[in-house]
Amino acid sequence: MLRGQRGAAARGSAMAHFVFEADLHGLLRLDTPIPNAQLARWQCKAKENDSPTTSMSPMKPANRSHSSSKTPSKTSGKSGSKIQNTPSKAGGDRYIPSRSTMQMEMANFLLTKENDPADESPTKKEQQKAWAMNLNGFDVEEAKILRLSGKPQNAPEGYQNNLKVLYSQKTTPGSSRKNGRYIPSMPDRILDAPEIHNDYYLNLIDWSSQNFLAVALHNFVYLWSYTSGEIIQLLQMENSDDYISSVSWTKEGNYLAVGTSNAEVQLWDVQQQKRLRNMTSHSSRVGSLSWNSHILSSGARSGHIHHHDVRVAQHHVATLVGHTQEVCGLKWSLDGRYLASGGNDNLVNIWPCTQGDSRDYAPVQTFTQHQGAVKAVAWCPWQSNVLATGGGTSDRHIRIWSVSSGACLAAVDAHSQVCSILWSTNYKELISGHGFAQNQLVIWKYPTMAKVTELRGHTARVLNLTMSPDGATVASAAADETLRLWRCFELDPITKKEKERASSAKSSIIQHSIR
């Protein structure tokens, strides 16, 4: 048949039949390399190493408690393996789509060797047993599974699982009682905060007494002037893999302390935009900072807190060991007597400003009631020794403590992760920032802890709160890469005038007495 065809084609195009014959011969020969097969595994790896995939695991295990390496971070493992995928299906044919996954040798062996089916089953069973032993640590077949009969009393009828209620909470209807003052429900201003780190444990914004808002965006720190709206880039870290993990202004507002992911604590002069000091004493990222006149306290991922005396060369003057996991909340009291620290180990420690008898710093109080990481820590400005703390996702409670007695004065379920708490002297209220599901700010009346109002707008969880020097505006930074300024504690003009008069009268009295 071939001859006939060849003969017929020869009269037409001479080249065609040669190509056809060549193809036929090519197909029949089995020792030529497969033209469009998949690359061998070593070839794939070589290709991969040349062009490393940059987007390995987008998922950040942000606020899972950072336990030991034994707990695998499930998504990163999965997405990692997905990216190292075998290349396209270009190689392979209809009958054997993927040569490399076919166990050719094994199949051949099984086909050709003589099998005695009777012998196979017991060995297989033994093999399975051996595997089961290895996996379970004991022979599961030999174990008996027992169950205590008589089911325990189920939850009462009508009890809806708490978690479902928590996460499907609709916006609460406005309270019927009049507030007594108007709080605008929309923010005064919205600022763009691109690349802000969506990490619960960091403290990335702070507002100075000179009315500058410092914001850390990845490895940059920007200063935003509230009065002029001007933006100054204060610093940029050299290595783009590092990032800023905390910022804190001194009381006077002329120096800014910056904590970084590579364990440095930097001190910057804002006027001259120059770095004054780079203090390295920590071994892990510095997520929290707090000033007490010339002492700067820094909390790190290791759980250690260092005191730095910024005036002297040997800056590291003390180490406080009280946390076993990252210190995310750190605040000196306003009178400088106590330092409150909150950690990812769910503990709140209250440290004295002076060392004890054993020349060691030991906490005067430790509060264990929170069931989640404590990042929100705030001292009451008008009542001494009163502290407010808020817990993370597993806890969701705001607690008010008396540090002198160690008693918990109040506890309120906020139904959502608490990232930050601030006190407001103007109206004797508290404001707290939250995450899932509403990403709202809640204002509470003190000491009743009644909800005054909720400020909504953020489309992702709130990360940090900070207050303006006049106490009228609260700035919130959130994972939706915005900063919102809420004018929620503005004093009305009459009260404002009275306050100003009162403070000026006080100062004039003082002037009179000093002769």
Binding site: S65, G137, E142, A143, L148, N346
Partner: protein
């Protein structure tokens, strides 16, 4: 008080280890029931244990049920014949298993014959237990929501030749069909080692 001090200095005996592990299960199961919302949170009260504030149930029937299990566990741990404790959380409506907390127990059988107690400080064991319980609390950040009302069940894997005591019955393992697993920390008293893990039903949408 004096007795406790004595125990701390003495080291860990088999009986002591069994008590420590059984106590851990009691508090661990209570924590799981509270955190996963199996019972209303108002029915739990706070106690201090392991240097933490833990929540335990006040419901008398549930307390009784758990006490029975813990007492039995103590006995079996002492004899080194229990291998695993599983807390199964299933939906009430369709009995589907949604979550499975598995605690594997490895027992050093040579401790049965030894007369001298082993060296390990109570504090070290407490620290390890504390980490595990904190991890259990923190799992709420990634475990899928339990949408429906759930009930729990306790399964214990024992040696095959054990006589089934009164009040207990045999049961299947109640595995989850399509599951995701997370291994938690383990702790050891040098006689008993407890490995913890939680498996949960994979979400239907990725």
């Amino acid at each position: 008080m004096a007795k406790q001090l004595g125990r701390e200095q003495q080291g860990i005996t088999l009986r002591g280890s069994a008590e420590i592990v059984a106590e851990f299960f009691s508090y661990g199961i209570n924590s799981i029931l509270y955190q996963r919302g199996i019972y209303p949170p108002e029915t739990f009260t706070r106690v201090t244990k392991y240097g933490l504030t833990l929540l335990v149930t006040t419901d008398p029937e549930l307390k009784n049920y758990l006490n029975n299990v813990v007492e039995q566990m103590k006995e079996w741990l002492d004899k080194c014949i229990v291998q695993r404790l599983v807390v199964v959380i299933s939906s009430i409506e369709n009995n589907e298993v949604l979550e499975r907390w598995q605690f594997d127990i490895e027992c050093d059988k040579t401790a049965k014959d030894e007369s001298a107690p082993r060296e390990k400080s109570q504090k070290a064991i407490q620290d390890e237990i504390r980490s595990v319980i904190r991890q259990i609390t923190a799992t709420v950040t990634f475990l899928p929501l339990l949408e429906t009302t759930c009930a729990f069940d306790l399964l214990i894997y024992t040696d095959k030749d054990l006589a089934v005591p009164e009040k207990w019955e045999e049961s299947g393992p109640q595995f989850i069909a399509n599951s995701e697993e997370v291994r938690l920390r383990s702790f050891t008293t040098t006689i008993h080692k407890v490995n913890s893990m939680v498996s949960y039903k994979k979400d239907s949408f990725p």
